[in-house]
Amino acid sequence: MTDFFANFLNPEKRLFIGYLISAAFIALIWLRIVQKKPLTNIVSGFLNSNVWFSKSAIADYKLIVLNQFFIKLLAPILIGQLALTLFVFENMHLLFSRPSASIPVWMVMLIFTTVLFILDDFSRYLLHRLMHRIPLLWRFHKAHHSATNLTPLTVLRTHPIEAVLFSIRAVIVHSFCLGVCFFFFAGSVSLIEIFGSSMFVVVFHSLGSNLRHSHVNLSYWNWLEKILVSPAQHQLHHSINPKHYDCNFGAILAIWDNLGRSCMVSEKHQNIEFGLKGQSEKAHNLKNLIIGS
């Protein structure tokens, strides 16, 4: 269970308590000032037991507990990271000259942090898109989309196989980035960090990333939603309505969706029903989530 609680204490995780508080604060401002909802409605909405103890939310919790054990099995994938990084570093020699002059550390940090952020975000988009488009992968990913109530904890409603795929993705991206950057900048490679986590990740999470999985339809200006994915856009991604299918695969940046013609901006006062069309209540059973109905 230590790993479970680490989710709330580690600024690298989306469920870090600081991000949850900032998300609640942003939601409060949005709902009270922009949408002008009464404060009592907002507070009761936050604490609505019909959401937190719904069959959907309880299914989230079950999968979270299951994944705490399963995630231990991912250790060998992470161990392979050093070998893969070395492989990338060595093969860079066959393509490029190793620079002999050093460049300022701050510049190395900026380059590494930015490249890692962009590649990480793009690969998330790409794999997410494949999870939808390839029928075999959809069988695993639909466990996430069967959620009919979204809470910040829904971020961990993940089929174990999908957790493996995303871990492999992370290992490949990090190894590639580290191998390439180590080749060009040697030991001065490091991350611009805030609270021990990448500055981009901290900024993204601090600005309400947890509202993506919630009923708070925080949207941005349309032009901004073509660059950054807003919580309301991600809620469209979870919509049961076929006209919203296969949109907004992006994690942070919407430019990938824009390029892939899958970007859909949010609708004013959108009221989305979440889940899968035609799914029964049994979709929330752990057995169905893992092996399908």
């Binding site: 995780k13 989306r14 020699h93 190793r98 971020v155 999908e162 030991g187």
Partner: protein, 465 residues
């Protein structure tokens, strides 16, 4: 009740305390200086006052150091003389007096009139072209050095000064110690401890076998009173106070100088990550103390097992010292290649960097050859090492020496790309880590990469979008 409990515990406690005292007293019993061990032989009637003797080994160190200087002079007859001659008046060319670092001896004969050829490993040297034995490789290198200006063949990037020196340190000193004295000469029927090493000698068979092995390592006799940095400074002739153990104002090459692999052990240990020098000399000291205690009686099987255990400590650590050197020079060769590539890209003159590249590769190759003459079948490791390094450095135009023609000329062929050969150097470093567990890792080209992966790599997560 209390009395019973006390008595019951007192017995094992007494045993523990007694054992601890015995163990600690045996640890304190280790001599500090590898010199003046008493004569234990019964009935010895000569004039010697000690059974310790390894002057011949220190003479060979002086020959090797002098030969290293001679290579750059290109005088074939002088090289032959120091390698295989028998003139006792051959001057010690290195080390010589430098400032207040006064060297006691000036000729080889003042140490012991020896040569190197008789003690060079006679087996095949697989990492060098031409299917030659150790002595053949040495003479071949002398001939090539004599033909090249200053012992340096820029066209093939061969630095014979380094190649010869590092190769002979392996093929003579390392091989003699670990494949002869610390190997078959520790057997019961070879040089037994209850007989003189030879008629009239002041030492037993095993005492002298052990002393000769110690001499080949090249450590000062008072190493255990010194730090690794001190021994390093002695080898560099920078600290006469550390060297002059008997305060006679001179440095005795027999007892007070640091040579060969002992110097390299000190160079790695001074970084603080390893203790090769003191582990090796400590094991020599323990073995010698044990032989004094044996008092010229034939060693029992268990005593010989103990002596072999000390020998194994020496062998293992000595091998690691050479592997550390291979690691270091693979790293330096890699660094030279980075510089050369950058200069070539800006159309600059690479002469200086090419010289460094040749020097560091020469040291890499010399130590790599040395690593393979310890009498141990290294199997696939040897094959990998020789293939990765090749018979020469990678030359401009991406060629390498692949062999010799019938006249002994080098034959070149297309080889790796520049970047490809740099990867070979990385793989040599990996090989030394994987097979010899090197720790000092000087000039580590992937230093910090594992820490970077650890701190910045992917973490397990089940987060979903």
């Amino acid at each position: 009740m209390f009395k019973n409990r006390f008595t019951a515990k007192a017995v094992p406690l007494t045993v523990v305390l007694t054992s601890a005292i015995l163990i600690s007293s045996s640890a304190f019993a280790r001599s500090n200086v590898y010199a003046d061990f008493p004569i234990t032989l019964k009935g010895y009637s000569g004039s010697a006052t000690t059974s310790t003797s390894y002057k011949g080994q220190m003479a060979r160190h002086a020959l090797e150091s002098s030969l290293k200087k001679l290579i750059s002079k290109g005088d074939m007859s002088a090289m032959q003389s120091y390698y295989s001659g028998d003139d006792a008046n051959r001057a010690i060319i290195a080390p010589v007096t430098k400032g207040d670092f006064l060297i006691m001896q000036s000729t080889i004969g003042e140490l012991s009139n020896k040569n190197l050829s008789g003690k060079t490993y006679k087996g095949l040297i697989p990492g060098w072209p031409g299917n030659m034995t150790g002595p053949e490789v040495a003479v071949f290198m002398f001939e090539k050095a004599a033909d090249a200006e200053g012992g340096y063949d820029a066209a093939h990037a061969y630095d014979y000064t380094q190649l010869v020196s590092k190769f002979l340190m392996g093929a003579v000193m390392y091989n003699q110690a670990v494949d002869n004295y610390l190997d078959e000469k520790l057997e019961a029927d070879t040089k037994p401890n209850n007989k003189p090493y030879k008629d009239g000698a002041a030492y037993t068979g095993k005492e002298h076998v052990w002393d000769e092995a110690f001499g080949y390592f090249g450590a000062p006799s008072h190493t255990l009173t010194l730090s690794a940095q001190d021994v390093y400074n002695i080898a560099k002739q920078k600290d006469v106070t550390a060297a002059d153990f008997n305060y006679d104002g001179k440095v005795d090459l027999y007892k007070e100088m640091a040579f060969g692999h002992a110097y390299y052990a000190s160079s790695f240990d001074k970084g603080g990550k390893t203790t090769y020098l003191h582990d090796i000399v400590g094991a020599y000291m323990d073995g010698r103390d044990m032989l004094v205690a044996a008092n010229a009686s034939a060693l029992s099987d268990s005593q010989r097992d103990q002596l072999k255990a000390y020998a194994q400590v020496i062998k293992t650590n000595w091998e690691k010292v050479i592997a550390e050197a291979v690691f270091k020079y693979a790293g330096e060769t890699y660094e030279d290649m980075v510089k050369i590539e950058a200069i070539l890209e800006s159309n600059g003159d690479v002469a200086k960097e090419w010289r460094n590249y040749s020097k560091h590769w020469g040291e890499l190759k010399g130590f790599a050859l040395a690593l393979q003459v310890g009498g141990k079948d290294m199997g696939a490791v040897s094959v990998k090492l020789n293939r990765l390094i090749g018979h020469s450095p990678l030359l401009l135009g991406n060629t390498q020496v692949i062999g010799l023609d019938s006249s002994g000329n080098y034959v070149q062929s297309d080889s790796e790309t520049w970047g490809g050969y740099m990867v070979h150097m990385l793989k040599v470093q990996n090989l030394m880590v994987d097979e010899f567990a090197v720790v000092a890792k000087s000039h580590d080209q992937t230093a910090g990469l594992s820490e970077l992966v650890e701190s910045l790599g992917a973490k397990s997560s089940a987060e979903n979008d």
